[in-house]
Subunit: 301 residues, 2 copies
């Protein structure tokens, strides 16, 4: 199988893009697709400082590499969630990545922020651990971007992630979530701009990108994500893609074209959380502070 | 397993509705769900004459039975598509159903209308046979309803059908199709009102309804539908339903609630087809007349 663009042997076939790519052209394509999304959605400019949320996985470390290579000023943020046997290893990959490339990595620790890690939260709090983890990460990422004076917070959500989230939102016709699902969410008072430069890049491309670029990353999924609905929806989308290649990219691109039909939520008035001062829709303390309060109460002395 | 409503043994468990039903209560539920949809969407009244498009399958014959039992005035329309070994048998089931109940069944034959059946059309015409068949059936059903002075044309699309169509439309974000996907489409000049009273009733319920009601119907799928995308999408939705019961009903009901956000297509100007006089968006002959012209040319003498 020969590369679509040169004489070299192709290592990846992308049926949805009708391409066969050698290592060099795969790297070029992934970087080009990221740059395309950055420009199309006016995510940020080379003059702006960006904070990349890194988990130690392929997508976020790959994104950091891409942004750096494309000439953007990107620092990293790692949140140590306190997941036994998983967080230490993820952090190791992030630190090695930053050290080898001379990049700046900020680290926040859940145990310092909340007095407890996700393992304890999963035991104590009702509901899905992934849901609490999402609240916590969004809070800390936003605060870090605001406090650090970054122009935008970038996350490594790829095409498969976006398609799975979209399918979940569409199956329930959650109009509020659909209106908010977009590759760039503008900044607000104490709210950082959020951007997803990898929306056009598939999971398979990111795996290949990291392997070719020599990026070492954590392979395992988070132990709390076992049986998570998002993984099930990804599997469903893979079946659809097998039957009709380009299902995922058409689904996501078609949604982005149709996005204007989703009614913008009323500008919900944001108050300052009486505990931490960050913006919240709640009338009392924000969700993050409520988790902290709950964990203070339940944590072993 | 006992019926949710009485002491009898249940024969069907509906996880999505959290019900276990004996034969009698299953029949009652199916008829109630149909009546609910008829009223909710103002489909028709007991004073109006309805034409039910029957294929010989469980959904359309079941629908005819339901409408008759609910006190509506419903005649049947069978279109003989000229599919060898399939059309004869389907017609037999429709005729037996009508005869046993003293109901009126109209029959149209593709070979008389077009000079050819679907088997020949599938051989001669490019594209999916299901697509041509859809064009032809929509045309003939509409014409029959208009010519017969019926207030509405009812089809047996059930919850599974609607969910599969919806998934296909949403995966492509086909806004025009999404705007037109609704349980009732109002009448227009030479256009019959179209209604789908079974949108809230699942395939499994219709199978059980027919078995319990002693309705004999054709089990096989149309031979041309093998590998059809709609069947694949139904299988995908069944996987989603297995994982989270009520996925289909939430998907369809949520869509109906959100339906107002889909921009109504511009009132496309309909002209009269220069050949048959029926309304069409085409500038020349309508699609039906073009198929007829094409088949005239290609049919063996």
């Amino acid at each position: 199988m020969r590369c679509t663009f040169c004489e070299k042997e192709a290592v990846l076939r992308l049926r949805h893009a009708n391409l066969r790519l050698c290592p060099e052209h795969l790297v070029a394509r992934v970087e080009k697709e990221a740059e395309k999304a950055i420009r199309e959605f006016h995510m940020f400019t080379p003059e702006e400082k960006i904070l990349v949320a890194v988990s130690g996985g392929k997508d976020s470390l790959g994104l950091w590499q891409i942004l750096t290579k494309l000439g953007y000023q990107a620092d990293g943020l790692y949140i140590d969630l306190g997941i036994a046997g998983y967080s230490e290893r993820s952090q190791g990959f992030c630190e090695a990545f930053a050290r080898e490339r001379g990049l700046t990595l900020h680290v926040l620790r859940l145990k310092e922020e909340l007095g407890a890690g996700l393992d304890e939260i999963a035991q104590v709090m009702h509901g899905e651990p992934c849901s609490h983890c999402g609240t916590i990460k969004r809070y800390l990422m936003n605060r870090a971007a605001i406090d650090g004076g970054y122009a935008a917070l970038a996350t490594g959500h790829n095409l498969d992630d976006e398609a799975a989230t979209l399918l979940g939102n569409v199956l329930q016709w959650n109009l509020e979530y659909l209106a908010r699902q977009y590759p760039v969410l503008p900044e607000g008072r104490k709210l950082a701009r959020k951007v997803k430069p990898l929306i056009y890049v598939s999971e398979r491309e990111m795996v290949a990108y990291c392997l070719i670029s020599g990026i070492r990353y954590i392979y395992e999924e988070c132990p709390h994500s076992v049986g998570a609905r998002s993984l099930f929806l990804k599997q469903i989308l893979n079946e659809l893609e097998d039957e009709a290649p380009s299902t995922k990219i058409s689904f996501v691109k078609g949604f982005l074209r149709a996005h204007h039909i989703f009614p913008k939520a009323e500008e919900t008035e944001l108050r300052d959380c009486p505990v931490c001062g960050m913006p919240t829709t709640a009338s009392g303390p924000c969700r993050f502070c409520r988790i902290r309060e709950r964990m203070k109460h339940y944590a072993p002395a």
